[in-house]
């Protein structure tokens, strides 16, 4: 406790998280173009330092406390009531750690196939901006980070992607920007209407506490915010940018997109939906959970019929993110905790799947499921890794996906029974499309080309190992994660209860320290 308080006073670690990759990007940009390997080393080093700091943050993070920790406020644009205000709580902590760890792994392990210098620099900028978005506690600050991540991602897709990359990159950029347009107007409106004698402020905590808006107005503003986040999540039917962006992005870009960028949407729904507009969130909860369930079923069905392995994984994201939306607006402690955990889980399992698909493409120059078969015989180790990642994605007990989905389902069942029943079907569908795809690609009779597919290399294994470890650890022992998430979620729900007529169900277990405990308590 003393350590945590002390470190936040002396070392604004969250600012350091944002600055270190930024410095790395600046150094990479200044290095001469023809210094092979050097760019990547600097990139891995600076993103790795940031990653180490994020892990340190998690260890210093005080469990059992719901509020923001490691807060740091600097005056930025006083005329407009804007400050550089950062902080982290249980909802954002693991997303920060995820951002910290995925980037160095991606930079170290995935070959961009050309122009390493710019690639590394853009990646580092992206990491810096992602950190910023997750730790920002000022609406303006959040918005600028939320919006600026588009630029490096756009550059990565359009520069290092596949054949249709330009189309996909532009679509990605414009879709998200379209949503942000509404969010920006809603944001300034919120701030203008919340102004009191103390002047205007963009401080998230203060705005959430003031709740100065009329009910009707708050609902409109919620819709504008939710629209921006729903595009980012993405929620069907505004998901169409995602399959294109994912499929055309380079492997590293896909991993980051799935692991980090999509989370900005679901994180935003919690932080700037539920927290800022509690009454409106409760009012629109039926709509949001319906959209979540539609996403689950629609994503699963469309994934089933995909002929392209990468597109299949992309659509599986739509389904998984639907679970998170469902959990977020089920408004029970377990459901939201499960959603937050599932954000990390999805990053880990889908990230690994994208890496594997990238490896298959590198070897075979195709991702078409028809053109692959019987790979298990040629590449048994890769098949094994694929199996584990896939099972994690499906939600097999003992792996991380289960912990998250289970909490979401059990939590949602309390408040949204029938939606949950339908969502549970989605779990079965997930097993269907992934196992079927696996069967077609890895089982069956291999052709000559399939037999010549090279096996996974040691360095590639090293790239995947952290993902596998995370899957098992988070599946078997999610307690350290839940301990940190739960109090913040609880506080969020209390906040919603205070500012709306919503009351959480009585019999909810407040702290599910272990999943096994669930049965005992009921």
């Amino acid at each position: 406790m003393l350590l945590a308080a002390g470190s936040s006073a002396t070392l604004p670690i969250l600012n350091a998280l944002i600055i270190v990759p930024l410095l790395g990007a600046a150094i990479v940009a200044m290095l001469p173009k023809n210094s092979p390997g050097l760019h990547r080393q600097v990139g891995v080093l600076s993103s790795g330092v940031a990653g180490a700091m994020s892990v340190y943050l998690a260890t210093q993070f005080e469990t059992g406390v719901g509020g923001f920790q490691f807060e740091s406020v600097q005056s930025w644009i006083p005329d407009l009531g804007i400050s550089w205000h950062v902080g982290v709580d249980g909802i954002s902590l693991w997303l920060v750690v995820l951002t910290g760890l995925v980037f160095p792994i991606v930079l170290a392990g995935i070959d961009p196939h050309g122009d390493e210098k710019s690639y590394t620099a853009w990646m580092l900028l992206l990491q810096s901006a992602s950190f910023g978005a997750f730790v920002a506690l000022d609406l303006f600050l959040f918005f600028v980070f939320f919006e600026i991540v588009l630029v490096p991602m756009y550059m990565l897709i359009s520069g290092w992607g596949y054949a249709e990359r330009k189309y996909a990159a532009t679509k990605f950029f414009l879709y998200t920007m379209f949503g942000s347009a509404f969010m920006l107007v809603a944001m300034v409106t919120l701030v203008a209407l919340s102004a009191d004698d103390g002047g205007i402020t963009f401080n998230l905590v203060e705005l959430a506490e003031r709740q100065a808006l009329a009910v009707e107005t708050a609902r409109w503003l919620f819709l504008a915010f939710a629209f921006a986040f729903a595009i980012k999540v993405p929620v069907a039917p505004i998901h169409t940018w995602l399959p294109d962006a994912h499929t055309q992005a380079p492997t590293g870009g896909s991993v980051i997109l799935a692991a980090v960028m999509l989370k900005l949407g679901t994180y935003g729904l919690l932080r700037f939906g539920l927290y800022l507009f509690p009454e409106a969130s409760v009012f629109f909860a039926p709509l949001m959970v319906t959209l979540g369930v539609i996403g689950i079923i629609y994503g699963a069905i469309v994934a089933t019929v995909q002929g392209d392995l990468k597109r299949l994984v992309a659509y599986s994201s739509v389904a998984h993110m639907g679970f998170i939306v469902l959990g977020s607006f089920a408004l029970t402690s377990q459901a939201i905790t499960g959603s937050v955990l599932q954000m990390v889980n999805h990053g880990v399992s889908t990230g690994a799947l994208f890496i594997l698909v990238g490896m298959i493409y590198d070897r075979r120059k195709t991702r078409a499921i028809d053109e692959l078969s019987g790979l298990q015989k040629a590449v048994p180790v890769m098949a094994a890794v694929f199996t584990v990642s896939m099972l994690s994605s499906i939600g097999l007990p003992g792996l991380n996906g289960f912990a998250g989905e289970f909490l979401i389902l059990i939590g949602s069942f309390e408040t949204r029974r029938w939606w949950t029943v339908i969502a549970a079907v989605g779990v079965i569908l997930a097993a269907l499309y992934l196992l079927w795809a696996y069967q077609r690609v890895f089982h069956g009779e291999p052709t000559d080309a399939d037999m010549e597919t090279p096996e996974i290399k040691l360095n590639e294994m090293a790239l995947l190992a952290p993902f596998l470890v995370a899957m098992v650890v988070m599946g078997v022992f999610p307690k350290p994660f839940l301990d940190r998430i739960e109090p913040s979620v609880d506080e969020l729900i209390s906040h919603v209860e205070t500012h709306s007529d919503f009351e959480r169900p009585e019999d909810v277990v407040i702290v599910p320290s272990e999943k096994a405990d669930e049965g005992d308590d009921h």
């Binding site: 520069g159 950029f173 379209f178 920006l184």
Partner: protein, 499 residues
Amino acid sequence: MLAQVSEFVAPSIDWWALTPQMILIGAALVIMLVTSLSPVQIPGWVSTLITVSAAVAAGVVSWWLWNDVLDEGASSTVAGAFGVDGFALFFTILTMIAVVATALVGDAYVEREGMAAPEFHALLLTTATGAIVMAAANDLIVLFIGLESLSIGLYVLAAMQFRRKTAQEAAMKYFVLGAFASAFFLYGIALVYGSTGSTNLAEISSFFDSLGSRTADLELLLVGTALMLTGLAFKIAVAPFHFWAPDVYQGSPSPVTGYMASAAKAAGVAALLRIFFAALGPLAADWSTPIAVGSAITIIVGAVMAITQNDVKRMLAFSSVGHAGYILVGIQTATDDGTSSALFYMFTYSLMVLGSFAVISAMRGGANHDVDTYSGLAKRRPLLAFAFTIFLLGQAGVPFTSGFIAKFMVIRAAASDEVYWLAVLAMVASVITAFMYLRIIMTMWDRGADVADAEPISVPWTTGVVVATTAVATIVYGVVPQSLIEFARDAVPVLVAAG
């Protein structure tokens, strides 16, 4: 008659306040005299040097005056015809930046394209004088004089590459439509004079006070106001009076285009704010809605037309039309907040557009600026491409550029004024325009582009300085905008009657 003349008392003149104007005119005369009287050919850089020095000197003097105004408050001089307030000095400083940038970029451009250097620079200085007279004018007649000095010089500047057909067309179009607009404006002045009894803005403003409970016959005044609005809308290129802009922007020499989009547009905005916000403020209920509608149309036209273009200069011309619309979003609020947001927008947009046209000037001289000619620029000139990317992202309103803060401020002003429809429309349109900016960026950074047989691009150091400075300013004002926000806040126009 004679008796009247003998009673004439020369108004007291605060010469110090008029120093920027005098420096500029003086420098223009020096350039013309020296180059025409000199027995030997004077090299082009001499004109550039004189222009830049004069503009810097005028800028420094304005800064001095700015501090005086902050300390002692606004004043007026020449019998109240000429205002000395933060607003005037804000625009003077902005115009001086535009002059320095245009002169530096023009230095090499003029030589490469075989244009006449002394004329270019002398005209630049006279137009700048007109622009800053407009910004400082406290009297409609003085404002009109400034408007004409600006416009007539610009007609000639647009035509300076007279061997090119497009330049001739541009200049002719600009001249005919510009003259038309001036006529509108002048007629508006006449009607306003007829109904208020004065051309002095401070007196027009106090005319409303003296109205009291009396309901005067204001129709004449409203017609005059509408005519003045139309005239200025032409100058600022507000839809539906924007039709000249794409052709003129495309046909004019690129440095001149940058100057039109920054200083000339700023002068129009200054006139608009001085007349409407400062003098006709009591009529805000009548002019604010037309400006809001005009702003909406302008933004939509700018966005939709920009994405259909294939020529970079035309793209930026339509984008410039759109940006005028965003400035109007701030102006239509008729509040101090909205006005200072419009000023902030004008300032940051000017820097970005000056930088953009500096890049375009470096690229090539001819009329063809097809977007394909920018293909693979990142391979040929990475820094130039990088700077252009910053300008384009800035104009698209991407965070950490001054363009984002500017958009944020006008949207905030509109939302505070509860004009939500316009705020939403403006933001959605910015997504459409972003498509066009992205297209240029994507073309420049195309890694597959074949640049082997492309002609080399030489970036003279003068152009390089402008590009680098404006790019850095775009980022700096996007990250730490506080100082500029304060500058714009203190520059809201004030009318001071003759003392």
